[in-house]
Structure formats: structure tokens, C-alpha cells
């Protein structure tokens, strides 16, 4: 602490040269720090967070909870009511889906784990587009996990701590993802850029000339690369930009989640190999018309859209040529309309949906 002195001692040319030398040494040290490999710089940042800044980071979670207490009660109530209505409407569907999956021998559907977190968005030089997240490894957040809201994609986790994390949103220069149009006709890479009016947007590039997504069409994640699961809404096409080299087009995408909507976010569970085959579009009510085609393209053999592997052993396929029907069966076939079996790979008798359902052992009802 001897450096804190009201007035300089040892000033003069000699003292200045010594100060310059010391300052140069610290500057070189800072330069070395700046040019360290990313792994070491991340390790140093994590070390600082876990030691000197630990009390502050620990406070961050409590602050998020306190901020939640002062949330708009009316808005929260409306969201809860909407969610309840949605769940009631989906209950029967979920039950039917479970029964169908059990009937077909599919494993239980792999669900996504969402971790709710508060996000504090940075501004200013060097902090624009960064998010301080109030959840970390202990809450189940994985490295490079996707950050979403009810509207769509926000960004991804960049650096992971024990109880907190640092993320980047779509405005950050490091952000980039592979996207596609909802119909699967146009694929490309979306990166942040300044739009025609100077507003921050995403640029979809490169897009071949023969595809032309109309304005307003929905852009979702394509799942290529494995970083983001497939089907998360990203934004809508806002117009075409200047062509690059004459062979490609650039389209501006207006993201669905504005920076003002990034206060409360959901972080997807840690990416696994299976996630790239899955389709998250249904969670946002988006139907991908190209889902099956692209699943086949990406994974080779046809799999179910949600890629759950059948657990039942492979069943024998029906023979290409049906056995010759007996005379009694032939008469019944003439009376009944032709029925297309919706599940030809399943063994068993074809069921006529119009035929009356009678428990076994009871006579069939007859019309009076």
C-alpha cells in the first residue's frame, strides 16, 4: 500500500523511466493474457468467478428470485391460465400418444429438460449480446445448450459455471446457427448483422438463387451441426439483401425474440447425440412439412419423427403375395368395402372402422 501516497516521491526523469518500465511490464502481461488460448482464458475467468467473485455470483441467484417476486401478477396469471388450458387440451392427446407408442413397441418419448433461468443482458462495448444466466452446471445446464423463450430461440450458453453461466444471444458477433425455412426448401447459416434500417437482425446466407423464401416465412433451426435441436423458431424473413458474387442471395431475418424479452429464459438440457435427430417444432406448434424427408436424408433409414428407437424385436414383414382366400372369406370380402391397412407392419386382423365392435363371445347386433 505504499504506492498510495498523496504526492509523488522520486519524481523526475529517473522515476518516470522506472514507471514506464513497470507499466510496460504490466502491459506485456495483459497482452499475454489477451493472447492466451481460449481454454486457459476460460479457466482463468472461471477461477476468478469461483474465488474473488464468488460472493457476488452467489448473490446473483437470489437477485433473480427477488426480481421474480415483483413480476407482473396479471401477466403471470394470464400465462398460467393459457398454460392450464393448453395442458387440458393436450391431456387426451398425450394419453393417446402413449398408448399408440406402447402399441407400436416404441420406447417412451425422450423429453427435453428445460432449466428456467433469469438472464441479465449486457450492454456497451464488449458486453453487447452477452447474458449473465442465473443457472449453471448444478442446475443441469450443459455446455453450448440452447437458450429459448416461449417465442423462440434466444442464443446459447457460452461459458458454464457451477451456479451461473454466461451466454450469448443472437445479437452477439460470435452467434451463428444453421437454419431452414419451415417447408425445408431453403437452408443456410444465420449470423447477426445490421439490417437496412440499421436495426440488429440476422442474415440468412448463403441462399441459392433458385430458392426464394417469401417475406414473413418462418425460419427454424435445421439441427445441422448438432448444436441446436431441430425445429426451434428463430425468426421471420424480412426481405432480401444484396447478392454476394452473383450466385447467392442474402435474406434478412427478424428474430422472434427481441432483446427486451430476454429477462426470463429456458435453457435446454445438455445436447446429446440423439437430440439432433429430434424435432422440437411441435413444442412451438410448428409443423414441418419437410420433417420426414429430411430425417431420412440426415439419418439414412426411415425412423419415427421423434427418433425413439423401437424396443420390440423386429417383426416379420407380411408376405408380398397373400395366401389364396378360402371361399367363405372370399364372400365376405365381396360384401365389405376395401380397407387400407394403416399399420401393415403389424401382425393381426384388419379392422374395419365402420364395423360394430362386439366383445368376443357375444352375437353381433343386427338392425331392426
Amino acid at each position: 500500500m505504499s504506492t498510495f501516497r498523496p504526492y509523488l516521491k522520486g519524481a523526475g526523469e529517473r522515476g518516470r523511466k522506472r514507471d514506464l518500465g513497470i507499466a510496460a511490464g504490466f502491459t506485456v502481461l495483459a497482452l499475454l493474457l489477451f493472447n492466451l488460448p481460449d481454454t486457459y482464458r476460460t479457466g482463468l475467468a472461471t477461477g476468478v468467478r469461483n474465488t474473488a467473485l464468488f460472493p457476488v455470483i452467489a448473490m446473483q441467484g437470489g437477485a433473480a428470485d427477488r426480481a421474480g417476486r415483483f413480476g407482473n401478477a396479471g401477466e403471470l396469471r394470464a400465462e398460467r391460465d393459457s398454460l392450464a388450458a393448453f395442458l387440458v387440451g393436450q391431456a387426451n392427446l398425450a394419453q393417446e400418444n402413449r398408448e399408440l407408442r406402447a402399441l407400436m413397441g416404441f420406447r417412451e418419448r425422450l423429453g427435453y429438460s428445460f432449466v428456467a433461468a433469469e438472464a441479465s443482458r449486457g450492454r456497451g462495448v464488449g458486453a453487447t449480446g452477452t447474458l449473465q444466466l442465473s443457472a449453471g452446471r448444478r442446475e443441469g445446464v450443459g455446455t453450448a445448450a440452447a437458450i429459448v423463450t416461449a417465442e423462440g430461440l434466444v442464443g446459447s450458453v457460452w461459458r458454464l459455471g457451477d451456479r451461473s453461466a454466461v451466454g450469448i444471444d443472437w445479437t452477439h458477433p460470435e452467434f451463428g446457427l444453421s437454419v431452414m425455412t419451415q417447408d425445408g426448401e431453403t437452408y443456410g447459416i444465420a449470423k447477426p448483422t445490421n439490417g437496412p434500417q440499421g436495426e440488429r437482425m440476422l442474415a440468412l446466407t448463403p441462399v441459392a438463387f433458385h430458392t426464394q423464401p417469401p417475406n414473413g416465412s418462418l425460419i427454424v433451426t435445421s439441427g445441422d451441426g448438432g448444436l441446436y435441436p431441430r425445429g426451434i423458431p428463430v425468426g421471420r424473413v424480412a426481405g432480401a439483401g444484396r447478392a454476394e458474387g452473383g450466385w447467392q442471395r442474402v435474406y434478412y431475418i427478424r428474430p422472434l425474440v427481441s432483446p427486451a424479452q430476454m429477462g426470463h429464459v429456458l435453457i435446454l438440457g445438455a445436447p446429446t447425440k440423439a437430440l439432433t435427430d429430434q424435432d422440437l417444432a411441435a413444442a412451438w406448434g410448428v409443423t414441418l412439412s419437410a420433417a420426414e424427408r429430411d430425417s431420412a436424408r440426415a439419418t439414412g433409414p426411415a425412423v419415427s419423427p421423434d427418433a425413439a428407437t423401437p424396443t420390440a424385436p423386429a417383426r416379420p414383414q407380411p408376405r408380398a403375395t397373400a395366401p389364396r382366400p378360402r371361399p367363405q372369406q372370399q364372400q365376405q370380402r365381396q360384401r365389405r368395402p376395401a380397407i387400407v391397412d394403416p399399420t401393415p407392419e403389424l401382425p393381426g386382423r384388419v379392422v374395419d372402422p365402420n364395423a360394430p365392435r362386439v366383445p368376443p363371445g357375444l352375437p353381433a347386433p343386427t338392425n331392426p
Binding site: Y7, G15, G21, I22, A30, N35, A52, R123, T128
Partner: protein, 158 residues
């Protein structure tokens, strides 16, 4: 800024640094809180040797990099240079008037943003340059006002 004992001044600087992290990170107020870290460095550098001020800048930069990993190293470099320049500025900007203090702090904060933008742009991490003309001047004035308030309270207490 020659009032108070050495330890009282150390308390002021440490208090500003702690407030910076508690308000910005701990309470999640973020950009709504002025950059008290830069203010603390600028104030401390006025009473320190230039070499030590550069060292303090590196220390503050490492702490800042803990919060924002993208600026780890870059902010240390910029704050080291800024600390050195702030310490040497005594030869040019003499006196303790509030106007001089506000000018010194605002200029220092703006230079910090400018240098940081320049360093980060070498890695395409700086973001749009428009920040330097919109947010940075406001942030500089905000930091200067906060620094003036802190010094006024300090002078009233010691």
C-alpha cells in the same frame, strides 16, 4: 483528491469496486449501474505512481474478465494503459475542481470504451461501432457523475 489518509482512500477505491460488482452482477442491475470499476481506477491512478496504476488496471481487468469472459485480457490490457495515462495526466490536468474531475472521469471512461472496442475488434468481438457514438458518451457522463458523487461523499466523511 488529496484528502483523507491512505487507508481511507483505499477504502473508497475498494468500496467502489465492491459496489460495481455487487450492483451490476450481484443484484443484476447491469448497465443501469455506472462503470464504477473504471471510475475507481481513474481516481486511484491520480494518487498512484504510473507503474503501479498500470498494475492495478491489470488486476481490475482480470476481475472484469471474470464477469465477461469475452473481455478477459482485453479489459486488462486497456485498463493497464488507462491507469498509466491517468496517472501521468496529473502533469497536464492539475487541480481538484469538480469540473475538472467530471471532465477527467468522462474522458477516461470514453477512452476505455474506445480502446476496448479497438482491441476487441481485432477478434471481431467488438460489436457495432455505433455503440461508441450512442451508448458510450452517455455511459461516460453517467460514470463521471457517479464518480463526482462518490468523491463528494468521501470528502464530506473524511
Amino acid at each position: 483528491m488529496t484528502e483523507g489518509t491512505r487507508w481511507q482512500f483505499v477504502g473508497l477505491i475498494a468500496g467502489l469496486v465492491i459496489l460495481h460488482f455487487v450492483l451490476r452482477v450481484g443484484l443484476g442491475l447491469g448497465f443501469y449501474v455506472p462503470d464504477l470499476l473504471t471510475v475507481a481506477l481513474l481516481l486511484a491512478a491520480r494518487r498512484m505512481r504510473a507503474g503501479a496504476a498500470a498494475g492495478l488496471g491489470v488486476l481490475f481487468g482480470v476481475l472484469d474478465g471474470g464477469v465477461n469472459p469475452f473481455t478477459m485480457g482485453a479489459s486488462a490490457l486497456v485498463l493497464a494503459v488507462l491507469g498509466y495515462l491517468a496517472s501521468r495526466s496529473r502533469e497536464v490536468l492539475a487541480g481538484d475542481s469538480p469540473v475538472l474531475l467530471v471532465t477527467f472521469l468522462a474522458l477516461g471512461k470514453y477512452l476505455f470504451d474506445l480502446f476496448l472496442w479497438g482491441v476487441l475488434s481485432s477478434r471481431a468481438l467488438a460489436g457495432p461501432a455505433s455503440v461508441l457514438f450512442t451508448l458510450s458518451p452517455l455511459a461516460a457522463l453517467y460514470a463521471a457523475a457517479a464518480g463526482l458523487a462518490a468523491v463528494t461523499v468521501y470528502r464530506a466523511l473524511v
